[in-house]
Amino acid sequence: MLTAENTQEWMNKFYLKIEQNKDYLSELDTPIGDGDHGNNMMRGVEGVKQGLAQLQDPDLKTVLKTIAMGLISKVGGASGPLYGTAFLEMAKKSSDTQDINQLIDVALAGIKKRGGATEGDKTMIDVWSPVAQNDTITQQVIDDAIASTKDMLARKGRASYLGERSIGHLDPGAVSSGYLFTALLETEGTL
């Protein structure tokens, strides 16, 4: 169950993972993209951190909306609107439920709607979707989902310009989404 507190903890952990893997994410984005995913996500988690720091005793909805706005206004590129929409949808839904599974479901629906991609297109959806489908999120589910993008042929995003040559590379947005869910796993009292 998400709360205002554990969601902030989740974001702290996500921040650290992005910070640590910034260069790796940009490297993943080089052969099949434009090499900026690490920098984009770093700006995003910085924005989220700054936004959250300004809140006093916020409720869950405010926390989720602040996360969304931080991501939308700082990331840019393709991943900004997608991550931003995910948290915006979670914020909306959080009036009805704090259940993490239900929240991930609406987030995934938002990502699909915003970007028009679906499972198997070699995007972050290929991590969000297996995580959403499994009742219990495990590191195994996450890792398998990330790894599954390697053999896919990209049909959306920059990697799609490569056609066949996109095969054999992990999708950077899938990897950063993996960090998001690992951070969630590590956050006490979320699941």
């Binding site: 940009s26 080089t30 434009d34 090499g35 900026d36 920098n39 984009n40 700006r43 939308i72 206004s73 700082k74 990331v75 840019g76 590129g77 393709a78 991943s79 900004g80 609107p81 997608l82 931003g84 915003r114 970007g115 049909r155 959306k156 995003g157 920059r158 799609s160 310009y161 490569l162 056609g163 040559r165």
Partner: protein
């Protein structure tokens, strides 16, 4: 990486600052943003606003085309990264003078989504918005099931068309019609000799050997369709023109505009030689362009290379729009 910069993460704000302060007669920075609006506000009154933008690194695009007769405002994202919706929204607000705002978007998932979100925000303010998604790069096969083609140098011709129409008082619907009609007639194809280095990344997006070139590369180091040994200018022209012919079936009965675009580090000397070979080869097809531009219009930081854009002027007003006088830094 050897660049005249300070901290890489400050490249965009410093660049925007250096630009607007050098050219206050054309540009004004929208406070708190990396978006710029025309200084000559009077020239926008009673007219549809035209907003474009995208990642930085394509200078003089897009701010270099802000001015009377062309763009009303431009948004500069991080290098090779779509600007965020709040910035685009700020540009839309500044460009709106009651007649609505037309967005020129290049076909990248990031740009499309961020402009879309900005459009949603602006529509909440009752600003009428229409847009065109430019996808002139014929290097990549088009398909309904993929991202489709990229928007590249042909975008500048689109700016010119819609900017001229707006300045002459065209309505938002008329501008949308014009843009939609012209779009399928604009085709671009590029060849790269070296890659660009994004300041925050610090190394080139790809590597070509000392004697290698790559056809079909995009303006963000996106890969092209073939790598080869360097060829003479004549042979490069043959290759690119063949691709254009496959797409457009150039015909002496039609009129054409041509844009030869330097990618950043390629000197004008080479662009003019390319122009010589292109005009020679078009002549063998009995084609003589009625409008031409040669220079750096849609660059990819310091990438070396050239793109060729051919625009079939299927409607006689389009040539008039291309020749319509503008007051900008870079047209």
């Amino acid at each position: 990486m050897k660049k005249i910069i300070n901290e890489p993460q400050n490249a965009v704000p410093e660049m925007v600052d250096g630009l607007v302060r050098a050219y206050p007669q054309y540009l004004e920075r929208i406070p708190g943003s990396e978006a710029m609006v025309r200084s000559d506000k009077d020239s926008m009154i009673g007219k549809v606003g035209i907003v474009s933008g995208g990642g930085s690194g394509h200078e003089p695009s897009h701010a270099g085309f802000v001015g009377k007769g062309m763009l009303s405002a431009a948004v500069a994202g991080q290098v090779f990264t779509s600007p965020t919706p709040d910035q685009i929204y700020a540009a839309i607000k500044a460009a709106d003078h009651g007649k609505g705002v037309f967005l020129v978007i290049k076909n990248y998932s990031g740009d499309v989504m961020n402009f879309d979100m900005a459009k949603d925000m602006a529509e909440l303010d009752d600003i009428k918005i229409k847009s065109i998604i430019v996808n002139d790069d014929i290097a990549v096969e088009d398909s309904l099931y993929t991202q489709g083609r990229r928007g590249v140098a042909g975008t500048v011709l689109m700016h010119k068309l819609v900017g001229a129409a707006a300045d002459q008082g065209a309505s938002l619907d008329e501008i949308e019609k014009l843009a939609k009609a012209a779009l399928p007639h604009i085709s671009t194809i590029a060849v790269a000799l070296s890659a660009a280095t994004v300041p925050e990344v610090g190394k080139p997006g790809f590597t070509l050997a000392d004697d290698e070139i790559e056809y079909g590369v995009g303006i963000h180091s996106e890969p092209g369709y073939r790598r080869e040994k360097i060829k003479s200018s004549k042979k490069l022209v043959s290759e690119l023109l063949a691709k254009i012919n496959q797409e457009q079936h150039l015909d002496p009965k039609h009129q054409y505009a041509v844009l030869i675009n330097g990618m950043g580090a390629t000197p004008l000397m080479e662009q003019y030689i390319f122009s010589h070979d292109l005009l020679d080869q078009l002549e063998t097809q009995n084609i003589k362009p009625v409008f031409m531009k040669v220079g750096n219009y849609m660059t990819s930081i310091e990438m070396a290379g050239i793109s060729l854009t051919v625009f079939e002027l299927a409607d006689s007003t389009w040539l008039k729009y291309l020749n319509y006088p503008v007051e900008t830094i870079a047209w």
